[in-house]
Assembly symmetry: C2
Homo-oligomer: 147 residues x 2
């Protein structure tokens, strides 16, 4: 009877869901949700990328990306310009309205991290982040390897 | 300019999504998905609990739970009995068909954990699991505190 079963994925799944409800609540005042704010944070570091690139980077399927981006354009957070090198593609940019709220989004996310890590030392948190970084890289490699 | 921003939630969100695609693929042969298999694992440890309890334990909203359980009943994995103490509630049980595949589900999940932790030591993994366990508890407390 080996009882090796690690609660790792269970913990990640549940923490994800708590994080989702927190961000849905905390970002409601900006008309954002757990499903849309990552697009703004991603664009803040990569202005001008395409819908396909952003959906690949965030590992969100294309239909879901398209819906989120449409919503963010309606809300005035994202603008799109035709890509001069590829007439079928659009480059996405943050509007000034988005740039204004991004620091506020980051404060809310930091606040959540403070809440969930309040009884962990800086060192524990760094170790866990390092572990998760490696796990994520392995997950990405695995997905790429199966095509 | 403090650049304190921790990638913790970003890593959890992305790892969650990779885990979801892995489990969707790996469990397709049982007609299960990332959204349904946790109900079977939860029931395997708590047979006879109600739909409300399971939805609270898994931190999944009631509508989503209802859909998942309906699907699992259709697939012949779950049966429900009227609760004799509360005529509006049902107790949920695993069928023999479910009991047969649960060890196989666990093998798939363990395989995923092996993939993502392959370059981490046992100790690193234990530390990270301990960290996530505390984070999850804090998340739960926070959610309970805001009602």
């Amino acid at each position: 009877m080996k009882e090796k079963r690690s609660p790792l994925t269970k913990f990640i799944n549940r923490l994800y869901r708590y994080t989702q409800s927190y961000t849905d609540d905390a970002l409601k005042k900006f008309n954002l949700s757990s499903g849309t704010y990552p697009f703004l944070l991603m664009l803040s570091k990569n202005e001008g990328i395409s819908q396909n690139q952003i959906s690949k980077e965030l590992n969100v399927d294309k239909a879901m990306s398209a819906r989120a981006i449409k919503r963010l354009i309606e809300l005035g957070y994202i603008s799109k310009d035709l890509d001069e090198e590829d007439s079928r593609a659009y480059k996405l940019f943050l509007t000034d309205k988005a740039k204004t709220i991004i620091p506020k989004i980051i404060i809310e996310i930091d606040n959540w991290i403070d809440i969930i890590t309040k009884d962990s030392s800086e060192e524990e948190q760094e170790l866990a982040v390092g572990f998760l970084r490696k796990a994520l890289l392995n997950a990405k490699k695995y997905k790429d390897s199966i095509g």
